[in-house]
């Protein structure tokens, strides 16, 4: 039962990944693409958590934590780059 619900949640999350991929490809400015990149990396954290529930291994959550840290720093460095403050 719980697995079915998580399947549905994973499908919806994948849909959101695809929609923000559209904004990433089409975005007119650099800033729009970076927003799409941010949203994709945050929703991938949720995706990793769902995968770890399906596999029943707690150790996969470490990957989500590192993913969050590096995504945050990546967005920061791109933002500092486009405002010429690096």
């Amino acid at each position: 039962m719980a697995n079915t619900l998580i399947f549905i949640a994973i499908s919806i999350t994948l849909l959101s990944l695809l929609i923000s991929l559209y904004r990433f490809i089409a975005g007119p400015e650099k800033a729009n693409r970076i927003i799409a990149f941010d949203v994709m990396s945050v929703s991938t954290i949720a995706l990793i958590a769902f995968i770890s529930v399906l596999n029943k291994r707690i150790i996969y959550l470490d990957v989500a934590l590192i993913y969050g840290i590096l995504g945050f720093i990546g967005v920061l460095i791109i933002a500092r780059y486009i405002e010429k403050g690096l």
């Binding site: 994948l14 990944l17 994709m40 991938t44 995706l47 990793i48 995968i51 590192i66 460095i77």
Partner: protein, 80 residues
Amino acid sequence: MFIAIAIILAIVSIAGAIMAIHHKKLSVAIIASGLVSLTASVMFLLLAAPDVALTEASIGSGLTTIIFFYALNKIRNNHD
């Protein structure tokens, strides 16, 4: 279920790779290659390799993108 995740990830990563090669602006190309590394890390997780996924997420996507941006920054400074 894993097949659906794999298909979506393959689509995202190949779109990112084509953008990384063919986009005119260098900064957009670098962000796209970071996207390729991020999806590759989720693929490693699906293949039951959390060690490699951690390494790819921290080193492959994070530090490589950061070093590319610093280099690009130096080129832009000398340029204008």
